[in-house]
């Protein structure tokens, strides 16, 4: 391997690259042109740098669109400096002194990788190369056959060479690879026949089945997670994530030290568990469902709007295209006519007429665009009003600022009603909490009285008993718990409201911005076109005058 060490290592500098690019560029006439113009590194598609005695890969960051890179027969020791070459399809690093596979994490398009004749001892760090089809790792130091299992993740891998490695001496080598990489077609440049594959499969069936089972499990878990994540995403889009369970209720009690202490009181546990929690969760669920429904509505509204806008734009574009097509037809005729006309006065008249045509086209196109802009503006405003209304309604309903709940009697009526049928508002949560608080307070005071009277038979834990020193303490404790609960509910509510509002503003902002962008672009396009036509006419004029 030291064959090249007797020579001076060379640096990959600009000069070397230029030379290589120039040599490998286009030939003959095209080559002359290329020389005349110079070739930009970023336009180069393939580069060959073999037998250059390169020690370090460097200065390649300009070759953005490079697809094929040959760096074989150098003295490279480390794979580096290839991060920018994301379009690379073919990379040849054979006959170098590389010791570890690294620095390939950005080359997602790589299909053919050759690391033949290096010093690699472990197959590793190839995860990003999802399109890998050909992998050449012959004449390396790979010693562990189990390392091949790593290659199972490359579904497109068809050709593999590992000859000349210590693993290849293993008598089971071929069978093992055949069994663990069933999609492989060529191993060490030889085709794997079906008979061989069958044999290998039979031989390693048990271990492979186990492996497969494990892989399937992992796959299933990943999918599961993915599904859950998507669901959560969906709920988040509806701003009601985690309201479809006890999450909010649990969070109320996690930070609430007093509350958890108080729950040990006789009677409180049941109250908490059966009446309060159940009702609370039902309300949460209702909110959740309502939120999803509202989300659907908003989505439908948005889709409808987008569709209509698209249609309008499409129609307008069609009109514009038609106008331009008509103009072009005429334009061709008149250009020819001007060219063929010999009389100067006629030419002038025609040119004048033609430029009039151009102006008219410009006016027509601009009118169309202005018209569309006005129409779209109107529609967008309408959508804005509607979506704001929708969001407002949603927020209002969730917060429940309905008059009947503010009504002092409303609470009682609410309490009297079975919770199942009631609405789905945060205010109800708060009411429920208030109600619970009252009950809790009542129980606590009762117990305090009992304790004071010494009638308390049951044993209370010490930290709970310590609360029942006097009325103030217990009331404070209960109050603190209540405050925490209310805070939690308020926080959740605030979060929901802010997020839905910010979503709304963002959406509207985006729509406005998009529309403005569209308009600018169209106006620019029209201007450009008109300029082009005008310049064509001008050049004709010049030409005529010169003639």
């Amino acid at each position: 391997m030291n064959r090249l060490y007797d020579m001076e290592p060379r640096v990959m500098d600009d000069e070397m690259l230029k030379l290589a690019v120039g040599e490998q560029g286009p030939r003959e006439e095209a080559g002359q042109l290329a020389k005349q113009e110079g070739i930009l590194f970023k336009d180069v598609l393939s580069l060959q740098l073999d037998f250059q005695n390169i020690l370090r890969i460097d200065n390649l960051w300009q070759f953005e669109s490079l697809q094929k890179l040959q760096l074989d027969n150098n003295i490279i020791e480390k794979i580096e400096g290839l991060e920018n070459l994301t379009h690379l399809v073919w990379l040849d690093l054979s006959f170098n002194n590389i010791e570890a596979i690294e620095g390939l994490d950005t080359l997602v398009n790589l299909e053919d990788l050759s690391l033949f004749n290096n010093r690699i001892s472990k197959i590793d760090s190839l995860d990003a190369l999802v399109k890998l089809q050909v992998l050449s790792l012959g004449n390396n130091h790979i010693g562990n056959l189990m390392n091949v299992i790593y290659l199972r993740r490359f579904k497109a891998l068809r050709t593999l060479s590992l000859s000349g490695n210590p693993v290849a001496e293993d008598e089971d080598y071929k069978m093992f690879i055949c069994a663990y990489l069933p999609d492989l077609v060529y191993l060490d440049f030889r085709r794997l026949d079906d008979h061989m594959k069958e044999l290998a499969e039979m031989k390693h069936q048990y271990s492979i089945d186990e492996l497969k089972h494990r892989e399937n499990l992992v796959q299933a878990r990943l999918e599961d997670e993915q599904a859950r994540r998507e669901e959560l995403e969906e709920h988040k889009a509806a701003f009601v994530e985690q309201l479809n369970g006890t999450f909010l209720f649990d969070s109320m009690y996690t930070e609430d030290v007093e509350g958890s202490k108080l729950s040990h009181l006789p009677g409180v546990g049941e109250l908490l568990e059966f009446t309060y929690k159940d009702k609370f969760v039902i309300i949460c669920l209702n909110i959740f469902e309502y939120g999803l429904k509202q989300q659907e509505k908003r989505k439908a509204e948005l889709d409808n709007f987008m569709e209509c806008v698209q249609e309008a734009i499409q129609e307008n574009q069609e009109q514009g295209k038609l106008k331009i097509a008509k103009f072009e037809e005429k334009h061709l005729l008149s250009l020819n006519a001007i060219r063929e006309e010999s009389e100067l006065s006629n030419i002038e008249a025609k040119i004048v007429q033609y430029s009039e045509d151009i102006t008219e086209l410009f006016n027509v196109l601009m009118t169309l665009e202005m018209q569309l802009m006005e129409q779209l503006e109107e529609t967008i405003n309408m959508f804005e009003r509607n979506i704001i209304d929708l969001v407002g309604l949603f927020v209002e309903n969730v917060q429940s600022l309905y008059p009947f709940l503010e009504d002092p009697l409303g609470r009682h009526s609410c309490l009297a009603r079975p919770w199942l049928n009631s609405g789905c508002t945060m205010a109800q949560c708060r009411d429920l909490e208030n109600h619970h608080h009252e009950k809790l307070l009542e129980i606590a005071i009762n117990i305090l009285e009992k304790i004071v009277k010494g009638e308390m038979d049951e044993d209370l834990p010490d930290d709970v008993r310590s609360l029942f020193v006097d009325k103030d303490t217990i009331v404070n404790a209960v109050g603190a718990s209540h405050d925490i609960h209310l805070l939690k509910i308020d926080n959740r509510e605030d979060e929901l409201v802010t997020r839905v509002n910010s979503w709304c503003t963002h959406l509207l902002d985006k729509i406005h911005k998009d529309e403005i962008m569209r308009n600018r672009k169209r106006v620019k396009e029209i201007n450009q076109y008109i300029d082009h036509v005008q310049s064509e006419l001008d050049s004709l004029e010049c030409g005529d005058l010169l003639d």
Partner: protein
């Protein structure tokens, strides 16, 4: 038995009598009205006659008048009456008809009596009506009741299962013979078998046959004896529009307008004057109304002209047709079928002027309703005895609709009658048909029309039909449409073909424009679908359409004019959709080359492409124009979805040389481009150069393809001409009769089978038979006899073998002797022989030697085989079942 039946019918008669009395008054009134009408009609007839007489009286003989008359007469076109088809008894060979044709059974006799009785009562009660058509004579002069002439038969051809195709078949299969007396039903009604045999008949024959087949197929069908219009009776379709010329009505689909969406943009404000619009609209409407008026007037005038000829015998012409009642075979509404034309008419149609009676294979009904308004008010409720008088009781009534039943429920008499009917003896019903089973041979079925040809004259159209394979060019149908009513100026000709090898299906010739359009079925060697042309010369106006899925290049259509050629493609991998080639005038070359190798120079090639979804829109060429003469290439790219303008690029291919004499490869002004969103790399000369080089190549390719297209046109034209000349017909492999190959093969197979059979018979030849024959027959063999038999048999065989050997030996010796003689002769005359004789001798020698050698071989072979054969026979004899028992013990 007969007595009882007679009694039953007589009691029935009395009832009927009572009912008829009730009816009689009404009928009489009607009859009176009819009579008046008839009288009027007669008067009218006279009136029409009178002017003629007057004219005749006035005519005095002056020269001028004579000339005048002559001129007038010469103007009148005397239409020579066609040779009227007759179908009389004389032409029928009655000798071979079965017995049921030549005599009546007892039951039939009785039926005739019943019918006579009925007829008598009928004529008594309704003396003004014409006598009933009950039992005409058949081909053997035997009176047969009409119902028994109907022989319900289900034909084995699926095509005859539905009424429309069935009626069409009968109208094609039989040729029409008018009634001997148009005002009376015929005296004779032949059996359907005879009618089918001679393939002609009158309307009664037609409807009887059709009725038999329809009833067989499950329809509720009836033969009707009534009165029809003149056109109907003479199968005159000249006033009808040909159904083939009628264009299918375009069903204008009302486009469902989607409800305006919530956010649909508002249309820009309309700034035109509404008043002006309204004025304009009014003006337009006025013009339209005027046109409409004129058109209507014109139509009315034409109609009047056409209907000018009225029929003096209107309403008196007897006709027979078929009535199909609703109910069975999912027929939703009752209708008439005219058996001559196979057309169906509603029961309200103007052509049908009245019904006397109708019958099926079970019963006979007389119409008691008034036909003053044609058949428009007739109710076909055959269960209603007031409207329809039945002949036989007991056969089930077709139906009695519910409302009628309720109506009758009001009437006590009818109720009683109904009850009585049900109690009545049902023993007498219609005897089975005397007609033999109706059969149509497959050949006759395929030939369809008599002699395989039929011509129908429609209004301004003539339709000719032929049986398949009758014309050797496959022509099966020709429709000629004319401009005028007299059918002298041909407008267009449509010809339908079948079984053509070139898949030609329809040829449409427009005589006015001279445009020919050929339509092909899938399967033409060049995938041709349609070819429209005025002349078969190349480089003329023509359009060819193709089955694009059958073609490799996806060509749909190719249009040609003398100067251009346009091709349309679909589904090509290079997304080419259109190619238009302009040709310049042909260069005058020295006449060394033929015309084919001197193609016209192409001036301009325009190609358009579909959008290639794999490329971004602004790199995907939508149209490229090669201006070959100007050495320019224009490119227009596809438009991006959010843009209204598209990229354009124009290359000037001019090669220039700069001041120093160097070739200029590429200069910026050789490529003028407009880009919607300018990109950097496209500005580079290198890019443009490469693009231009590519285009140059593609131009060459396009030119080549255009040239190939031209060649293909020539080829197709040549092929078409050849096909037209040859017009070979294909024969299905299932067609056993016409497929010569399969016929030969089948015959060969049969022959092989036959030979096989013969060989088997031979193999079964009994070698013991001659010896067994010597023994007394019927006795069992004794062992001694068996042994003797065997010995004899073996001896005989031995003798034969020896004889054969001797024979061969004798022949061998003879040959040798002859040869020796010849040789001797040759040696003697060797000197004097001519070379010819010598040749003759030599050839004789070689032949003789050959014969001798063969004989020698045969002899040695015989010697070899003879003992084997002998042993084989011995073995066989031991195993012979007749001898085995006896010989076994012996051995």
């Amino acid at each position: 038995m007969v007595q009882a039946v007679l009694k039953a019918t007589s009691s029935l008669d009395s009832q009927r009598h009572a009912r008829m009395e009730v009816l009689k008054e009404k009928v009489e009134e009607e009859e009176a009205a009819e009579r008046e009408e008839a009288a009027e009609r007669a008067e009218r007839g006279e009136k029409t006659k009178r002017p003629m007489e007057v004219r005749r009286g006035e005519t005095t003989m002056t020269q001028e008048m004579l000339r005048d008359l002559e001129r007038k007469l010469s103007e009148i076109e005397v239409s020579v009456p066609e040779k009227i088809l007759t179908f009389t008894k004389d032409t029928i060979d009655t000798s071979k008809l079965p017995l049921s044709y030549q005599s009546n059974t007892l039951k039939e006799e009785h039926l005739l009596q019943v019918a006579d009785n009925f007829s008598r009562q009928y004529s008594h009660l309704c003396p003004d009506r014409v006598p009933l058509f009950l039992h005409p004579l058949n081909e053997c002069e035997v009176p047969k009741f009409v119902s028994t002439t109907i022989r319900p038969t289900l034909m084995p051809y699926p095509e005859l299962y539905n009424w429309d195709t069935c009626a069409q078949f009968i109208s094609d299969f039989l040729s029409m013979v008018p009634l001997p007396d148009p005002l009376k039903p015929p005296l004779y009604l032949y059996s359907s078998t005879t009618v089918l045999k001679y393939q002609k008949g009158n309307c009664f024959d037609f409807s009887t046959l059709l009725c038999s087949m329809l009833i067989g197929a499950g329809y509720d069908a009836y033969c009707v004896n009534g009165y029809g219009s003149r056109d109907l009776c003479y199968m005159d379709l000249t006033r009808e529009v040909c159904p083939l010329t009628m264009k299918p009505k375009e069903t204008v689909k009302e486009e469902e307008k989607a409800p305006p969406k919530k956010y649909a943009i508002k249309p820009p404000r309309d700034l035109t004057s509404r008043f002006e619009q309204e004025q304009e609209m009014k003006r337009q409407e006025a013009i339209k109304a005027e046109e409409e008026n004129r058109r209507k007037q014109e139509e009315a005038r034409l109609l009047e002209q056409e209907n000018a000829k009225t029929d003096p015998l209107h309403g008196l012409r007897v006709h027979s047709w078929v009535l199909v009642l609703s109910g069975k075979r999912e027929v939703p509404e009752s209708f008439f079928i005219d058996p001559f034309t196979a057309r169906s008419y509603s029961t309200q149609d103007d052509h049908f002027l009245g019904i006397e009676s109708l019958w099926n294979h079970k019963n006979y009904w007389v119409n008691m309703q008034d036909c003053w308004n044609c058949c428009k008010e007739l109710v076909f409720d055959l269960g209603d005895p007031v409207r329809w008088e039945y002949l036989l009781l007991g056969t089930d009534k077709p139906f009695l609709s519910l409302t009628e039943e309720e109506d009758e429920g009001m009437n006590d008499d009818d109720d009683v009658e109904n009850l009585g009917k049900e109690d009545e003896d049902k023993s007498f019903d219609m005897p089975p048909s005397w007609v033999e089973q109706i059969e149509i041979s497959p050949e006759a079925f395929e030939t369809r029309c008599p002699n395989g040809k039929k011509v129908i004259q429609y209004k301004r159209a003539k339709l000719e039909k032929w049986a398949p394979y009758l014309n050797n060019n496959g022509l099966v149908c020709r429709l000629t449409t004319y401009e005028d009513l007299e059918c002298t100026k041909t407008l267009e000709v449509k010809e339908w073909y079948q079984n053509r090898e070139d898949m030609l299906e329809l040829k449409h010739i427009n005589k006015i424009t001279g445009l020919n359009v050929d339509y092909f079925k899938p399967g033409h060697p060049q995938a041709l679908r349609m070819h429209s042309y005025k002349s078969m010369q190349p480089e003329m106006d023509r359009v060819m359409e193709f089955y694009e899925t059958a073609r490799v290049d996806g060509l749909i259509k190719r249009e040609e004019t003398p100067k251009t050629m346009t091709e349309y493609y679909h589904g090509r991998p290079d997304f080419l959709s259109y190619r238009h080639v302009n040709f310049g005038p042909r260069m005058k070359k020295l006449a060394l080359n033929s015309a084919e190798s001197n193609p016209r120079p192409m001036v301009k090639i325009t190609e358009r492409f579909f959008r290639n979804p794999a490329k971004p829109a602004d790199e995907d060429v939508a149209e490229r124009v090669f201006l070959i003469a100007e050495e320019r290439i224009q490119l227009r790219y596809h438009c991006r979805s959010d843009h209204i303008t598209a990229n354009k690029r124009e290359f000037l291919r001019r090669m220039e040389v700069d001041s120093k004499g160097n070739k200029i490869i590429m200069t910026p002004d050789m490529c003028i481009s407009f880009e919607v969103e300018p990109m950097e790399h496209t500005k580079k000369l290198l890019y443009q150069y490469e693009a231009m080089m590519k285009l140059k190549n593609e131009e060459k390719l396009s030119r080549h393809q255009a040239w190939e297209s031209e060649l293909e046109v020539l080829e197709i034209l040549k092929l078409r001409e050849e096909e037209e000349e040859a017009h070979t017909l294909t024969i299905s492999i299932y067609d056993t009769k016409r497929n010569e190959k399969s016929k030969e093969y089948r015959e060969a197979m049969e022959r092989v089978l036959h030979e096989e059979h013969l060989r088997q018979v031979e193999a079964q030849l009994d070698y013991l038979a001659p010896f067994l024959a010597q023994l007394p027959p019927g006795e069992k063999l004794t062992r001694w006899q068996a042994v003797r038999l065997k010995e004899e048999c073996l001896n005989d065989f031995k003798q034969r073998l020896i004889d054969k050997a001797n024979l061969i030996q004798a022949r061998f010796e003879k040959e040798t002797q002859e040869l020796q003689k010849k040789q001797q002769w040759y040696q003697e005359n060797q000197v004097t022989l001519t070379p010819e004789d010598e040749d003759l001798y030599l050839s004789y020698c070689s032949q003789a030697m050959f014969r001798i050698r063969i004989l020698e071989q045969r002899l040695s072979r015989h010697k070899e085989l003879a003992p084997l054969k002998y042993l084989a026979l011995e073995e066989k004899l031991y195993k012979d079942p007749r001898l085995v028992e006896l010989l076994k013990v012996f051995v």
